[in-house]
Amino acid sequence: MTIAAETRTLTMAGAINEALDEALAADPRVFLLGEDLADPAGGVSGVTSGLSTKYGRDRVLDTPISEAAIAGAAIGAAIEGRLPVAEIMIMDFITIALDQIVNVAAKARFMSAGRTGCPMTVRTASFGGLGSGATHSQSLEAWFMHVPGIKVVVPSTPADAKGLLTAAIFDPDPCLFLETVALYGTRGEVPSGTHVVEIGQADVKRSGSDVSIVCYGRAVVDALQAAEELAAEGMEAEVVDLRTLVPLDIDTVLESVGRTRRAVVAHYSVEFAGPGAEIAAQINSRLFGRLAAPVQRVGARFRPIPSARALEAAVFPNAHLIAEAARRATGSPP
């Protein structure tokens, strides 16, 4: 990660806004489209606030409730060399845009043998943890990992959000950029000016020698908290933030787990057939015979996400469950 000299404290939402702002300023090919993006609303979570006022409604386009057409319009423009950033407000709604994303965008360069690309970014957000219920809380990034042709990016800090979104917007291929609403308010130091975080580079968010917690997105926040908890018990957890799932920086994971010989894989998407399954399978096969314990997975339970707060909390992972898993991996008493 290149950190510019100057940083300021920004929220995650602010950092995303800044990335969009700077991309719009830097390149006339960049434009945004999605529902309720324009001012005065500036997006349902205010993430695009101010941008239509600054760049005009030709660059920040409010759309009808037409997720397939939002994606399709972005794809068409991207095929022509524009750099669209389409917003699918809540990730559960991406089901509606899936034909476009999976069957057109992800395959455009390959099927045309490179005669057209599709440098589109799809921003979407997981609303999990806010009591919104089963159709407004899913994290479906595993689906996109499984579709060859689209990059999958999930930031966990404001700085990464800015740097990765900038990289995604200017990436020549389609990128899914998954935001986490529960993290929008998280604050952190963010470089001012152009800040690019290379897609495909995991980041060790905390070093440790006893166990590796491999995670991304919101689970990174929990993992860091779990690491604190564990440190108090004398266990040093290393927290590896994948940052992107496609490309997957398995080398950094293997280097870490090769050292600690113990791994926990954590994410907010459903554990069963989730991203952690692929990561665990790779760790197991690449470090076969060198692990001190089986890879522990911590994901959402295999249930629709209930709306009532107590029930919902029982479905998602948290710092405590991650710490528990680390203890299991190290054979520590609970």
Partner: protein
């Protein structure tokens, strides 16, 4: 009774029924907003305040066994259809007494006993499902009909058009009730479609489409009754554009920065509830005292239900393991 007396009687009954439904929906919506504003409970709701005439006309025109599919903004519709207040408020507040014992939430309320088969938070998603409900009715030899409520914004979705086309092609008894409140979240209707009358969307599917005053419960009652009659007779679906307004913005707390103040003021001045009250009093179908009493009863009913709900337990943690798959064998823990 003479025929004229009977008609007068039934006009009076209808008026009372409509006004009762409207005030109940209003009272429920207001009490929830009050509770949120006061900090009594931390929930999100999508107020239906302003749209009660549609719910009342629809609920009064439908039979209990007729089906309803509605949305996150559909508490009024469900009240009109007869969902018990405890079930509604219980689900909104995430309690064990809720319609879905807290598992569904406000956007996902089901009450088959009064025909509410599905509530969706995904805009447009209820439309194709309504078509299937109507198909089942036909297959079962029932003359029940299915009403599906959605907003103006929903008519921009592919699901809406696919569902409309299928209902028209199969001539199924579906009543498509578009509650056109002129906004979708923060975006005014003119920014998302290039037509003047949403009702014209029915032309794409060879379906009758009518634009009616959604703030007049009797107009809605009349239009839905006719559509239902047509549906029951096997004469296919109807699209109704009910023009109305959302007084409180998209969600409770919406600052409505996007809302032209004159537009909101004009809409509020045409509030369907005082307007209907006045009309009934002028027509001597209801006395002012009766109207007052209906309003007080509505508020009292909501208060009583809320009290019961707030004293009900949170859902039990075991809820995660029941009513998921019917048979849990082999299902991941």
């Amino acid at each position: 009774m003479t025929t004229t007396e009977a008609a007068a009687q039934s006009a009076e009954d209808l008026a009372r029924d409509l006004y009762t439904k409207m005030t109940l929906a209003q009272a429920c919506d207001e009490r929830l907003r009050q509770g949120i504003a006061r900090g009594e409970f931390a929930i999100t709701i999508w107020p239906s305040r302003g749209q009660e005439a549609i719910a009342a006309g629809l609920g009064a025109a439908l039979r209990t066994d007729d089906r309803l599919v509605t949305t996150y903004r559909g508490l009024h519709d469900m009240i009109g259809k007869g969902v018990p207040l405890e079930e509604l408020l219980g689900e909104v507040l995430g309690r064990a007494v809720g319609a879905g014992r807290g598992k569904g939430g406000t956007m996902h309320i089901t009450c088959p006993e009064v025909g509410v088969m599905l509530t969706t938070g995904i805009v447009g998603a209820g439309v194709p499902v309504a078509v299937g409900l109507a198909l089942a009715a036909r297959q079962q030899g029932s003359d029940r009909v299915v009403a599906v409520c959605f907003g103006d914004g929903a008519t921009n979705t592919g699901s809406f058009h696919e569902g409309m086309n299928l209902a028209a092609t199969w001539q199924l008894p579906v009543i498509f009730v578009c509650q056109n409140n002129l906004f979708a979240e923060m975006t005014p209707i003119g920014d998302t479609m290039h037509i003047e009358r949403v009702a014209d969307r029915a032309l794409a599917h060879g379906m009758p489409g009518h634009r009616i005053d959604g703030n007049d419960p009797e107009a809605v009652y009349q239009a839905v009754s006719e559509a239902a009659e047509q549906g029951r007779a096997g004469e296919g679906p109807t699209f109704l554009e009910c023009v109305t307004f959302r007084f409180k913005g998209h969600y409770m707390g919406d600052p409505q920065h996007y809302m032209p103040p004159e537009q909101l003021a004009a809409a509020e001045a045409a509030d369907p509830i005082p307007r209907y009250r006045q009309k009934l009093i002028e027509a001597a179908l209801l006395s002012a005292a009766d109207a007052d009493e209906i309003e007080q009863q509505a508020a009292a009913a909501v208060e009583a239900a809320l009290k019961e709900v707030l004293s009900a337990p949170e859902p039990d943690g075991r809820e995660l393991d029941v009513d998921f798959f019917a048979d849990m064998k082999g299902i991941p823990a």
